[in-house]
């Protein structure tokens, strides 16, 4: 099965809530949603983002929008106002997730 980077079949937007990053991942076409739902698991996202996310990853499904929503706990170096990072609010983490490869 061919491997693709998520950016080829999905788009995303990310932000923050305290020290928790929120990444919404959306299939570019409805037929790609099942592959996202099957392969982009909370465990894989935790593994993928392990350098940035020190806590757990929680996943929610929105099949009506062909989307998944991820909460990455302890992922922002203390959160928006505390963090020393350039991206203190996790605004670019959407694209970090899109670096992941899956099979379709």
């Amino acid at each position: 099965m061919p491997r693709v980077q998520l950016r080829q079949i999905a788009h995303a937007r990310s932000g923050d809530k305290g020290d928790c990053a929120n990444i919404g991942l959306i299939a570019l076409r409805p037929e790609h949603y099942p592959a996202l739902a099957e392969q982009v698991t909370a465990e894989r996202v935790k593994e993928h983002m392990r350098e940035l996310c020190r806590g757990r990853v929680e996943r929610f499904e929105l099949p009506n929008l062909q989307a998944l929503n991820f909460l990455l706990y302890e992922a922002l170096d203390g959160g928006g106002t505390v963090s020393l990072r350039t991206d203190a609010q996790g605004k670019t983490l959407s694209a970090a997730l899109l670096r992941m490869e899956i099979e379709i």
């Binding site: 788009h11 995303a12 809530k17 305290g18 929105l62 928006g80 990072r85």
Partner: protein, 453 residues
């Protein structure tokens, strides 16, 4: 149908968007969201120095510039510009209308009751613990360092101000979506237990609350061909009494309203989509149905909600120490290597000085600052330049201040091909940390006043 236009996604958003929303076509309501979490503590600090301050000063200025259109087109304006001093903000709005030559032409409503800073000790004494929602800790641990404490109020006080004839409504802290849900409640007579209707209002409010993020701004799909981002239109919510609504923008403006862009905004910072908790209703984002309904128009229906909780969320800010960050930029060749060496030298010097920090963070802008080493991979050797950005955080302001003196010397006594920003050493900032908590709704009373301008 009513048209609710948003023109401010946060304090610092476009100063022109409110005027463009007023002038670009028909609207019934203009909503402006000024209050990020960090804003409240800044405003509280200003208020402590000056009891006539503590609100978003941009707002009365915007009212003065837009007064003619607001009056002539009979547009109602709802803004959380009140910060920690909504009454004074309301007076400033009246003064702005007066300066614009429209004194005595409308009523101004002010919503208060969100600010519980002066009630904290009383609440704690009565056993309302205000434990941290994330960590479970009791507020006592940071009580002496608390800077601000505000309850997220709901939409019904805004609706009440509109019911009583206010044309401009100023609030302090309220849920972001309340700014647009309040008008729908007022116009359509939605009741407190119309869960599905309220949820529809919440979803519509969520789509427009971040301004142009709903109309093609910050959108990953087809961003290169996005029309006229320089003249991007801000979102307009066309709400129907039965809960259906459409998202659109004024004709002739830039950007795009598409299912892809609107869906990015739908999943933005929502947490559990089955339980998007607001003061008025819990909205279920997994029930949202939407489709493209013509150019720059997305139609929504089918949204369901359920009874909200017995608590309001409280946002408490407290002083969490100090921090500073500074940069040094290294040019080709081997820019990344040089920046890394500079980081090592700087860290060695900080250690030899015996300075203690809670955290030191280095990143290499141009190589790995956004996504970290692991995901970014080894940077190419021929990068044109790399900026070392290093920051420290800790409880001792003297140590942080000393750190800020250690960057510039690297220009003469570190690796070569280096430049650094003019304007002196980095600034020491106070860290404002957040303490999210819950408070029983029975402990909070919103008050609404409506007066002639």
């Amino acid at each position: 149908m009513i048209r609710i236009a948003n023109a401010q996604g946060f304090w610092g958003d476009s100063l022109e968007a409110p005027l463009e929303q007023l002038r670009g076509g028909p609207i019934d309501y203009l909503t402006l969201d000024y209050l990020a979490e960090v804003t409240m503590s800044i405003l509280q600090k200003q208020y402590a120095r000056d009891p006539r301050a503590g609100y978003a000063r941009d707002f009365p200025q915007m009212i003065e510039r837009g007064a003619k259109e607001i009056v002539e087109r009979n547009v109602k304006v709802v803004a959380n510009a009140g910060g920690v001093n909504p009454e004074t903000c309301g007076e400033a709005v009246a003064a702005a209308l007066n300066r614009a030559g429209f004194a005595g032409r409308m009523k101004i409503g002010v919503v208060t009751g969100d600010n519980i800073l002066n009630r904290l000790d009383d609440l704690l004494a009565r056993g309302i613990e205000l434990r941290n929602m994330d960590t479970g800790e009791a507020l006592e641990t940071v009580r002496s360092r608390v800077r601000s404490a505000n309850v997220y109020l709901g939409a019904f006080p805004i609706a009440e101000a509109l019911d009583r004839g206010a044309q401009i409504v100023v609030t302090g802290r309220c849920s972001d979506v309340a700014l647009s849900l309040g008008p729908s409640i007022h116009e359509f007579g939605w009741k407190r237990d119309d869960w599905d209707l309220l949820a529809a209002g919440v979803v519509g409010g969520h789509v427009i609350e971040c301004g142009a993020q709903a109309t093609g701004g910050n959108c990953q799909v087809d961003w290169e061909t996005m029309p006229d981002l320089a003249g991007i239109g801000y979102p307009i919510l066309e709400a129907e009494p039965d809960g259906r609504f459409a998202i659109t923008k004024h004709p002739g403006t830039g950007g795009r309203v598409t299912v892809a862009g609107v869906t990015e905004q739908l999943v933005y910072e929502i947490g559990d989509p089955r339980a998007y908790i607001t003061p008025d209703v819990i909205a279920d984002f997994t029930t949202i149905q939407l489709q493209q309904a013509g150019q720059d128009r997305v139609q929504f229906w089918g949204i369901q909600g359920r009874r909200s909780t017995d608590f309001y969320k409280v946002s408490i800010s407290y002083s969490g120490g100090f921090k500073a960050s500074g940069t040094m930029t290294y040019g080709w060749p081997d820019a990344y290597k040089k920046a890394k060496m500079a980081d090592q030298i700087l860290r060695t010097r900080l250690e030899r000085l015996g300075l203690k920090f809670e955290a030191i963070h280095s990143e290499y802008v141009g190589a790995n600052a956004c996504h970290g080493d692991f995901l970014s991979g080894e940077p190419p050797r021929d990068l044109a330049e790399v900026t070392l950005r290093i920051g420290v955080r800790g409880s001792d302001p003297v140590a942080i201040e000393r750190f800020t003196r250690e960057l510039a010397p690297l220009a003469l006594n570190g690796p070569p091909v280096v430049t650094y920003p003019s304007g002196g050493k980095p600034k020491v900032e106070e860290v404002v940390a957040y303490w999210p908590a819950l408070i029983p709704k029975t402990e909070v009373g919103a008050a609404v006043t409506v007066r002639e301008a």
